[in-house]
Subunit: 88 residues, 2 copies
Amino acid sequence: MDIQIIGYVAAVLTTSSFLPQVIKVWKSKSSKGISVTMYIVMLTGVILWGIYGYCIGSKSVLMANLVAGILQAIILIIIFKNKRKNPR
Amino acid sequence: MDIQIIGYVAAVLTTSSFLPQVIKVWKSKSSKGISVTMYIVMLTGVILWGIYGYCIGSKSVLMANLVAGILQAIILIIIFKNKRKNPR
């Protein structure tokens, strides 16, 4: 079996995993319980992973981190928007 | 610069990013706002990433996903423990 297939399946899973969280934060308009620090550190790491994937020529690592980064950025934007509306 | 260094920095960031969430769920004893689906799908993906990293000989991909997988499993265990104590 082509190893890249495992990479692509892994990429689809870890990337799409952020979607339920995007929907949950979007619908509930609440980020209670979610660690903002986690998403900031993770987004930084994901950007570096994207660069790493590009450098080692792994398309699955590059693409997975590109899409994951976009979804994490969306989660962070919604969290900060809600915090401004409902400051604690 | 060695490309592997970028991989290792990325690995440390995305892996350690789960720690604040582990601490937050642990302290608050609440998983409100957190998508359980996200962590289940992500853990499955992370296991596949680990296999992929092993197959392409990328130690940083393998190690990052191994540690991230352990932290995500801890988050899931705490969430399910709390759900059993405080069923909604």
